[in-house]
Symmetry: C2
Subunit: 203 residues, 2 copies
């Protein structure tokens, strides 16, 4: 399955194809280790050295995959809060969208938040930023709630981190522990947000 060669100046097309192929390979194989330079090249219909025309090394390729997936995750969240003004409702929808992304793309979620790669190393700081972009909006939500006096006085960063830990817990567990899923992820999430919300919001 040989890919037709790109026209002059269209060399960047391959870059895109490689990125998409790597993402799909990760999703389909269900294993980060299956995403080898050789496997990606094969999936695109090209020889391994061609990858190096677009990415310095394997690390850079995987980093690019992360960036791509962070963007997808951001879209999930934006779509979720679209047209919603109430900050507590926004918060809830954001949480749902977060978990939903993890369930829809378990391997990508693993790569972003559960793998060794997930630990942002200095040189990869804009990955941290990509991720932060979702997080900072969450912090924004929390700020709004604090300002409105809806939740008790507390460091917004702590509140936001707590919320993150909550959704991350559900998502990660849903991915690694299928037994949990049997009992219904939505049901679990509904229970947890209800309990947590009752504790968080002033009555």
């Amino acid at each position: 399955v040989r890919r037709p060669r790109a026209k002059r100046g269209e060399g960047d097309k391959l870059r895109e194809e490689i990125l998409v192929a790597a993402s799909e390979l990760l999703a389909k194989s269900g294993d980060e280790e299956a995403v080898s330079i050789r496997a990606v090249a094969h999936a695109v219909g090209v020889t391994p050295p061609s990858i190096y025309l677009h990415f310095a090394d394997k690390d850079e390729l995987l980093f690019a995959v992360c960036t791509l997936q962070f963007r997808t995750m951001g879209e999930y969240q934006e779509r979720a809060v679209e047209g919603v003004d109430d900050p507590s409702e926004q918060l809830f929808r954001r949480a749902l969208a977060y978990v939903q992304f993890g369930i829809d793309h378990p391997e990508h979620y693993r790569l972003l938040f559960m793998s060794h790669r997930a630990t942002p190393v200095p040189e990869h700081e804009d990955a941290a930023l990509q991720q932060a972009s979702g997080f900072t909006q969450l912090v924004g939500n929390v700020h709004a709630l604090l300002a409105a006096g809806l939740i008790a006085e507390e460091d917004p960063l702590v509140v936001a981190s707590g919320l993150w830990a909550l959704v991350h817990g559900v998502t990660a567990l849903a991915i690694t522990q299928p037994a949990i899923t049997e009992l219904g992820v939505e049901r679990l999430l509904r229970h947890m947000t209800s309990v947590y919300g009752r504790g968080l919001f002033r009555t």
Copy 2:
């Protein structure tokens, strides 16, 4: 560094040494991939084929490491609730012990709850049991609280899963996101248990 050969009938000593070496290698290297048959053999001071005298294959070795670590985790929890009778206090201490294990042994925690291996496959069911052993006691705690009317009517499995997701979220985030740790894991955990507890317990 050649290990002295075991006496007759003391062949099982090597098995133990391999297991411990594999666990330490995992903890020190901070990477599951670093735990190769060859690396473990080297650490013990023995040649690679010797491993096969005690474990059928690499999978069985790693499975044994999991079992060992589940046991350690169980000890953390038992020590935590020792001499405590109040079920809600037990619950809280159990949560603390859970997170503490993850912080003390991040790579082992990864292996047990965050890796692909963490998904219990059929043949490995007693791993699920080992893990369940902690979980079933948690379910027991929840049952006691329900019976005492301290928490609202709800499926105890859902309540227990929620609690698990909560501590797992904090632990997993603390491991993969060092930025979170800067703000203080104990502080985050205290905030979350406080909020969650306020929502969970009837007043």
